[in-house]
């Protein structure tokens, strides 16, 4: 991966003094993933270019990537597990280049120059080129990141494959920055923002990263309109660290400037642990703040409606089937009516998140004893789920392939057979009310179906007949006169004791 720095300041060869690298020599430095080379493709009085080339050794790279990303995942043999070995890291600018830069240009980053101390403090005309940069969010994001710092930005998209123009552009851009800038500032911008744009750290983010960020961001980050995104991404979405850094930044922020909302959408694919998206499995649209607020409120109203239905049925021992990250569980735990709460999910990861969200290992024993988390799959009968007052299937059935629904019905209504079952699922008719949701697309990538009100009613009718339940169908959210509520809800009541 390559980064070039060009100046037209005269004499341009003073760049060598500022970088402490003689233009007429080739310099090499050993770095953890290979060798960093600094050389000058041109070094004239009018124009001088320093090139930093990081020559990655694939064997060392594979070794270095072994740690830190090892979150236990479900086996997905269909997915690309080779990514650890064959990837873009040797070619695209990333945190690896950032690390090399900080090592190779150490004193220049600090703004120190023994030979040209005055020049080091002076803004000079500079051009930076990074021929391949993975830029999450595209050109626009690059402009928003570097623009406020005084750079003129070009980020030319790189096609994915010349042989397949129908595939469009790749995630990479050819980045050129032009501006008049102190060399130290330019290097610090790059040091922080290259990994932020790439948005994938190659090493485990440790707490001392906060200090590194604040040091490199001295003088510009606190006032940057995108500081929240920069901080979060730089700290690789570790919320606790990001919160710490943002708090420390806030102390330094000029008091006359209002707090700004991030304009880069972080809602999509946010990998932060324990987030709402995980718990609610909802990801309608890409619309940013407003949609997110509407979504959150619908999720909250859904939980309220479910709690209301459970209370109405007089249930005290309840099952949350497909509990995910535990959003509903948290609400159940907060209501003392519920004396025994069992959350089940097929994903052990989701159960871990739920346990963390509920703070299970910190709860007092009496509270802890009310809650149980079990791995279970709704297409298998599970004896442990028998004998409860009520079961909730909140936004769950649409994640099951239609041919597998009878197995779920048998397991829940036939075998677990609680007196009350509350089911919620999207109302597909309402989807036209979601801006940004293309026609015919479901609200979530994992939805196997979304039903109209008639389809839902037909299903309810069938399961009631088969398993001896009566039904009360309703909805959650604004009741649109034309398309109904966004969420459909049914309370099933068992007819007699078996």
């Amino acid at each position: 991966m390559l980064l070039t720095l060009t100046t037209t300041h005269r004499p341009a060869t003073d760049l060598g003094h500022l970088l402490v690298k003689h233009p007429d020599r080739a310099h090499s430095f050993d770095v953890p993933v290979g060798t960093a080379h600094v050389f000058y493709p041109e070094a004239g009085e009018q124009r001088c270019t320093a090139a930093l080339l990081l020559d990655v050794d694939p064997l060392r790279l594979a070794g270095a990537r072994g740690r830190g990303r090892g979150r236990q995942q479900a086996p997905t043999p269909d997915s690309f597990t080779l990514g650890r070995y064959v990837n873009d890291r040797p070619y695209a600018a990333s945190s690896l280049l950032s690390s090399a830069l900080s090592k190779v240009y150490r004193s220049a980053l600090r703004g120190e120059s023994r030979e040209r101390p005055e020049l080091a403090r002076t803004p000079i005309p500079l051009q930076v080129r990074v021929p391949v940069l993975r830029c999450r969010g595209g050109e626009d994001v690059a402009v928003r990141m570097f623009g406020p710092l005084g750079w003129a930005v070009t980020a030319a998209p790189i096609p994915l494959d010349e042989g397949h123009p129908e595939w469009g552009d790749s995630r990479y851009v050819d980045l050129t920055l032009t501006g008049t800038m102190r060399v130290a500032d330019a290097l610090n911008h790059l040091y922080v923002l290259l990994p932020v744009l790439d948005d994938a750290k190659h090493y485990w983010v440790a707490p001392d990263e906060v200090d590194k960020l604040l040091r490199a961001g001295e003088g510009w980050l606190a006032a940057h309109p995108e500081r929240d995104v920069i901080t979060r991404r730089y700290l690789a979405h570790r919320r606790a660290l990001a919160g710490l850094a943002l708090a420390r930044l806030a102390e330094r922020r000029p008091t006359d400037e209002p707090a700004a909302e991030p304009t880069v959408d972080e809602a999509n694919g946010n990998e932060a642990t324990g987030n709402e998206a995980n718990g609610d499995k909802a990801s309608v649209g890409d619309g940013g703040g407003q949609a997110a607020a509407r979504r959150a409120s619908l999720a909250a109203r859904r939980r309220e409606a479910v709690l209301g239905a459970l209370a109405g049925a007089g249930a005290s021992r309840v099952l949350d089937l497909g509990c995910g990250g535990g959003a509903l569980l948290a609400a159940l735990v907060g209501d003392r009516r519920f004396t025994e709460i069992v959350g089940t999910d097929v994903s052990t990861h989701a159960l871990m998140l739920a346990a963390r969200r509920l703070g299970l290992d910190r709860l007092p024993e009496r509270q802890r004893d009310r809650i149980r988390l079990l791995q279970s799959a709704l297409t298998y009968r599970d004896d442990r789920l028998r004998g409860y007052d009520a079961a909730v299937l909140m936004e769950v059935i649409e994640h099951v392939d239609p041919p597998r629904l009878p197995a779920l019905e048998d397991a829940v209504l036939g075998h677990a057979r609680p007196a009350t079952v509350v089911v919620t699922t999207p109302n597909v008719e309402y989807n036209v009310r979601y801006e940004g949701l293309p026609a015919g697309r479901f609200r979530h990538a994992d939805h196997r179906f979304e039903w109209t009100r008639a389809e839902f009613a037909a299903w309810v009718d069938r399961v009631c007949t088969t398993y001896g339940y009566t039904a009360a169908i309703g909805g959650v959210g604004d009741d649109d006169p034309e398309v109904g509520s966004p969420t459909q809800l049914v309370v099933l009541t068992r007819k007699e004791n078996p």
């Binding site: 080739a26 043999p77 080779l82 070619y91 021929p131 391949v132 595939w167 297409t379």
Partner: protein
């Protein structure tokens, strides 16, 4: 000498005062693991076997261990004083809960001797009055023991008698494991003598008649044994005739018989009890009135002597009138007998006022086949290795027998409806759903099958559960999953990481003399289960399934259905359904091109890396050229960068070879290479010549949709054949091909000369293809040297474990094994896949 008769499976309570010699007795007659001593348990929970404050906890633990042993069917001896009624009651309760007989053995020694022994032990500190109280408790116990529920009470008085005692184990009456058949198991006869005669004749039996022409015995020329599942009497026209024949066969040792609820009721009537003459008993009583008293007495004696169920053929077969769940098999108790005679009812009644029976068979997970009657149905159906052979002969249905071990049903029609049924016989009952339970697959599991055994760690099962329940097709359709495949041993020369020479050497070392090299198709694995009928196969609704190597639907509903139609038409046109005598086939295939399924993956991962490399390396090269032009010493770096640019171009060519234009099924082809199973048969034992010949016929039937598998058969003793195959591989891979798979010619189930299962195939991947696996520059000497140190052991072990499970799953499919067992095997294959192995292998 006193002989103590003790059932083979029993809970034996030793009863005696301290110092009566219980532990010594236990040591002499039982294995240490059979004896649970209260002293030991006190020590276990409190580090002191005399700590009386620990007694409650010690007995809790002891009862738990006793219960566990009894559940597992192990004789258990409790060495404690057992002088208090509450202590003995706890033991009787544990025994009853597990349907085993409690036995008491009382050791009664003179108090003076007991005291002498107690005083001789430093750790026993209680006084003489304690011993005296124990002695009083013992006296009192004598009259209580039998009433407390002990089936046998043996009393040994005095040291001599105790020392001379011998234990003799007695088998339970239901234990007839020594009878291995073959059997003809006959369903509920209900007085239908004519049909019974017809059925026996149909089964090849020869009837023997008395002077009045009445059948009184039957023999089978090939020495078969008849088994009657009970309900011989009532409702039908000639219950005495049926009894005469069956009693004769049983007496002659040609048949065995278990009682039905109707025999039970008849016996009570014959014994003079108050019994209502309903459900056909009136007919029987009227018919018996015409018989001599001696015959009626004989009938009563016969019924009285019947045992509620039999465990036969080494434990592989259980016969009981109403069936028997696993926990009750080979056990003896009132509730076991009641279950065997009447089954379990839910307490509800159906619309005809008949009791609703608990569907125990749906939950049955036992390894023994259970054959029973009691509930008439028009067609017998296998449910979890159980079958009900009552086909309602007396109601005008049929009289049915199951031939064992052939699992073949033979039946004769009723002459007429002899008795009107309360509830009509279901004409064609819906196939009973075999439901799966979470405990069929979760937790740490040890799985034994015909090709080996393995343990699935709980965390692998947990991971597989997520994939299976969220993404896989219906388990009824998921008959098999392809095992992972190991590469051949690593090449050591010529710039290759994999080379045919190693593949041939691997198999030669295993004693294989002939292999087939099959072109490795550049697509996605697709397993196709196709039924002859578009809707109505034996696996549930639908006409087949196409799934990926992890069991997911291949494309999704409409396209998969279209693909199945295409396959169904070709299999039909090639005549394979008829030729193989099956209504369905399981095919192992590759679906081409890879981009049809993995387009997103190719674009996002492979193409992305290519785009980055193709943009970055020329830019770096230009900068280096300029620097070199200025005279800087960067020639080495420049040359290496140039080489890496060439490598990224070669890498790009490699992934581009997997991309082909498709639109729906247009552009998609299927390359079948193995025909795994059909009705009643696994074809894993057929050689690859057979498999490929059938695949070729599909290609001939629909050349547009099917892609043939190019191949070379190599005699491993022939260097020329080996060289030719190597040349073939070089040409194939030079033209952009992925490589080949080398398989033992003898077929998927091939074994080595030592008899162990062989790797079903090893892959030998092309030099260019490996760039997208190991990286664009993997073949640079330094990298290659490092990669050659790769270890294949784990991958090979995994491949063999999965292969064995797969073969067992195919056998289970062919044998019509219960769904839970088939699913357990297939699930285990998926669970194996979550084992961490290098994904590049």
């Amino acid at each position: 000498m006193t002989t103590l008769d003790i059932p083979e499976l029993a809970l034996v309570a030793l009863v005696g005062v301290s110092g009566s010699g219980k532990s010594t007795f236990a040591r002499r007659h039982f294995a240490p693991s059979q004896v649970l001593s209260s002293d030991t348990f006190r020590a276990m929970v409190a580090d002191d076997e005399n700590d009386q404050s620990a007694s409650a906890d010690a007995f809790d633990a002891l009862h738990h261990v006793a219960a566990t042993r009894l559940r597992r069917g192990r004789l258990t001896v409790v060495d404690a004083t057992n002088l208090q009624p509450h202590a003995r009651a706890a033991l009787v309760r544990v025994a009853r809960e597990h349907d085993v007989l409690p036995v008491a053995v009382v050791l009664d020694v003179p108090e003076a001797l007991a005291w002498e022994r107690t005083e001789g032990r430093a750790d026993r500190t209680f006084g003489r009055q304690v011993l005296a109280r124990m002695q009083r408790d013992l006296r009192r116990s004598y009259k209580l023991l039998a009433r407390e529920g002990f089936r046998k009470v043996h009393v040994l008085r005095g040291v001599e008698e105790i020392d001379a005692a011998e234990i003799r184990y007695e088998k339970l009456f239901n234990d007839r494991r020594e009878l291995t058949g073959p059997f003809d198991i006959v369903g509920d006869v209900h007085g239908c003598r004519v049909e019974l005669e017809a059925l026996l004749v149909r089964l090849g039996w020869e009837l023997r008649r008395d002077e009045r022409g009445r059948p009184v015995d039957a023999t089978h020329p090939s020495g078969r044994t008849a088994v009657f599942v009970g309900d011989l009497v009532d409702r039908g026209p000639d219950s005495p005739g049926v009894l005469r024949l069956v009693m004769g066969m049983v007496a002659a040792g040609h048949a065995i018989c278990v009682p039905g609820n109707h025999e039970q009721k008849l016996l009570r009537r014959l014994r003079g009890r108050e019994v209502r003459l309903t459900h056909g008993l009136a007919e029987t009583m009227a018919q018996l009135a015409a018989e001599p008293d001696a015959f009626v007495a004989e009938v009563a004696g016969f019924i009285d002597g019947l045992v509620s169920h039999f465990v036969l053929d080494g434990g592989r077969l259980v016969v009981a009138h109403a069936g028997l769940k696993e926990a009750y098999q080979g056990r003896a108790s009132g509730r076991v007998r009641s279950f065997a005679l009447y089954g379990e009812t839910t307490g509800e009644t159906d619309e005809y006022g008949l009791p609703v029976r608990y569907p125990w068979a749906r939950e049955y997970r036992g390894s023994a086949m259970v054959v029973y009657g009691h509930t008439p149905a028009a067609v017998p159906e296998w449910v979890n290795n159980t079958i009900c052979v009552d086909t309602g002969c007396v109601f005008g249905g049929r009289l049915t027998a199951l031939r064992y071990p052939e699992k073949e049903l033979v039946s004769v029609p009723a002459e007429r409806e002899w008795y009107a049924p309360v509830r009509p016989l279901a004409a064609a009952p819906a196939r009973p759903d075999e439901v799966l339970e979470l405990t069929d697959v979760t937790g740490r599991r040890h799985i034994e099958h015909a090709y080996g055994s393995l343990t699935v760690p709980a965390e692998n099962a947990a991971a597989a559960l997520e994939v299976m329940s969220r993404f896989a097709v219906d388990p009824r359709w998921l008959a098999w999953l392809p095992p992972t495949m190991a590469p051949c041993s690593t090449a050591t020369a010529g710039g290759f990481l994999e080379h045919p020479a190693q593949a041939f050497a691997d198999y030669r070392a295993a004693g294989v003399d002939r292999v087939v090299c099959e072109e490795k198709h550049m697509g996605s694995r697709a397993v196709v289960l196709v039924c002859r009928e578009a809707d109505g196969g034996p696996f549930g609704p639908g006409g087949g399934v196409v799934h990926t190597r992890t069991g997911r639907p291949f494309f999704g509903a409409p396209l998969d259905a279209e693909l199945l139609d295409r396959v169904r038409a070709a299999v039909g046109a090639a005549g394979l359904f008829d030729e193989l005598g099956t209504d369905w086939l399981l095919l192992d295939c590759e679906l081409l091109p890879w981009s049809a399924k993995a387009g997103g993956l190719i674009r996002e991962q492979y193409a992305g890396v290519g785009a980055a490399g193709r943009a970055a390396l020329p830019a770096a090269l230009a900068a280096l050229e300029a620097a070199a032009g200025r005279g800087l010493p960067v020639a080495g770096l420049r040359d290496r960068t140039a080489r890496r640019r060439d490598e990224i171009l070669a890498y790009s060519d490699a992934y581009r070879a997997y991309v082909g234009p498709t639109d729906g099924l247009r552009g998609v082809t299927l390359a079948p290479f193995a025909v795994l199973a059909g009705a009643g048969a696994s074809y894993a034992d057929r050689d690859h010549g057979w498999h490929l010949a059938l695949a070729d016929r599909l290609c001939a039937a629909d050349p547009e949709f099917f892609t043939p598998t190019r191949r070379q058969v190599v005699d491993l003793a022939d260097p020329a054949a080996e060289a030719a195959a190597t040349e073939w591989w070089l040409a194939l891979t030079a033209a952009g091909g992925e490589g080949m798979v080398v398989k033992p010619y003898a077929g998927p189930a091939a074994r080595s000369v030592r008899g162990s299962l062989l790797q079903p195939g090893v892959k030998c991947r092309g030099r260019e293809y490996l760039r997208i696996i190991y990286g664009p520059g993997y073949d640079e000497p330094e990298q290659l040297a490092a990669l050659r140190r790769r270890s294949l052991g784990r991958k090979r072990g995994l491949a063999l474990r999965e292969h064995g499970l797969g073969l067992a799953a195919l056998d289970a499919l062919a044998a019509g094994a219960p769904l839970w067992r088939r699913h357990e095997l297939v699930f285990a294959i998926l669970a194996c896949e979550s084992e961490p192995v290098d994904p590049r292998l």
